[in-house]
């Protein structure tokens, strides 16, 4: 009987593996056929290669840009701005949420303002930021942060308030101060929510930074896109887009790994 169970288990494992392999195979073939079809379509002039470029041209451009090192400058500028904007947005948002949690009065007073700020498209504030903070990377980082700060505040504050009241009761029976309650219960209990806002904020920070670079910059992937558009070099535009896609995915994956590491206990 035991033998039979073991063989069944092995069969089950190998069927799981087979399924995973099938999924991966289809995923890869979608990727490959997308790029091959694109290449083919551009070469046969089914689509205008001036507008849609072609993978081989993008590849050549990438190699040249890597050769002269210029792509690293642009990518690192954008990456730096995004990381900083993302961390500032999450950090300040969480801090604001803590203030709102601290004082019921402040949270009630600020409620309508938060709703207005949240519904407002933050990128529309771009020109104001540039005027206020100067046409440099400060305003771009501010844009990256601003776009996620209000939604982080709202989500994290709601999570703070929804911590199980019985946990708070335990703290109260020990005579805990508000500060202790926050440190020992509220913050650790909502860590999963804070981390999941990180995931959303990664995406938002990219939006803010790229729009910021569109508006004002001499460096960065957003700058390359808008420059390529202006000189009608769509190979450059598409190459920048691909780099952004790769970097954004890597960042998201890193946050996901971080999440798994930190939430083992929940």
């Amino acid at each position: 009987m035991q033998q039979q169970v073991e063989t069944e288990h092995r069969k089950y494992l190998s069927s799981l593996k087979r399924e995973n392999r099938r999924v991966l195979a289809v995923q890869l073939s979608i990727l490959v056929s997308f790029f091959s079809f694109w290449e083919l379509a551009a070469r046969k002039h089914w689509v205008d290669p001036l507008l849609f470029s072609m993978p081989s041209r993008i590849w050549d451009l990438l190699i040249t840009r890597i050769g002269d090192g210029s792509i690293f400058t642009h990518a690192s500028v954008t990456l730096f701005e995004t990381l900083l904007g993302f961390m500032l947005g999450t950090g300040i948002g969480t801090l604001l949420a803590a203030v709102l949690w601290w004082s019921r009065f402040i949270s009630k007073v600020l409620d309508p303002y938060l709703v207005v700020l949240n519904s407002m498209p933050k990128v529309a504030l771009g020109p104001i930021l540039i005027v206020g903070l100067g046409p440099g990377f400060t305003s771009i980082i501010a844009m990256g942060a601003l776009i996620s700060v209000v939604i982080t505040t709202m989500v994290v504050f709601t999570a703070f308030r929804e911590v199980d009241h019985n946990y708070l009761k335990v703290m109260n029976t020990f005579g805990a101060t508000k500060h202790q309650t926050f440190k020992y219960v509220i913050f650790p209990a909502t860590l999963p929510t804070i981390i999941s806002t990180l995931k959303v904020n990664v995406g938002l920070a990219w939006v803010g930074v790229i729009v910021g670079e569109f508006l004002v910059s001499k460096k960065g992937l957003g700058y390359l896109i808008i420059y390529g558009f202006q000189v009608f070099n769509f190979t450059l535009v598409l190459m920048s887009l691909l780099i952004i896609a790769i970097l954004a995915t890597v960042m998201y994956k890193i946050v996901e790994i971080l999440e798994k590491q930190m939430l083992k206990r929940f």
Binding site: N166, Y167, K169, V170, T173, Q180, Y184, F266
Partner: protein
Amino acid sequence: MSTLQLHDVSMAYLTKRDAMLALESISLTVEDGEFISILGPSGCGKTTLLSIIAGLLSPTSGHVTIGNKESKHAKANIGYMLQQDYLFPWRSIEDNITLGQKIRGTFSQTTKIEALKWLEQLGLADKKDLYPNQLSGGMRQRVALVRMLATNPTLMLLDEPFSALDYQTKLKLEDLVFQTLKSENKTAILVTHDIGEAIAMSDRVVLLSPRPGHIHRIFELPSEIATSLPFEARQHVHYNDQFQIIWKEMESLATTS
């Protein structure tokens, strides 16, 4: 010296729509080392009463004294056990049981060792580095008991601490809690809606009437039942008589209200 005194305690809940009287002139004296149960149908304000005793709520009128002090100023002497363990999942068992000490500022190497001794006494010494989600429900409730004992309270408040456990675990834990509290001569107040549990564990049973809760009757249990372990008390020849008496009294409450 009596540990706990309630003087004419009343409590009203205020909401936007109305004000509801939850408790009405409750006066009660609990002696040092005594174990009493507060029994009553759901919604009679049992938990409210416990919260008032713990100093978590201020009564609308009347006052509570523990020793000679108002309960609000004597928080350090009270341990509170809830229906579920409410251990903090992100802290190890050791960190959970020393949390009360840390909050009260009494944490030291000595008090930590005391806490770990309690853990050992309840048979969980080898679990100290695990996390709550690695323990069974009964074990977790035992850890919650240790967390409470680790602050060395003189008064223990038990808010239906066995209600979320399966029957077998519940019986075992009743014995364990009873033994532990008796050996330390702790005063305890147990809130429950389980007549059998109230009889098995306590010296006196206070029956509350529903809405607004006031003391309907106090049952003094025969000492043979009061002093024996809960599991043995349940086998006692007089256990059923006591059960019948309290049952009938509760029934009469249900029909008159």
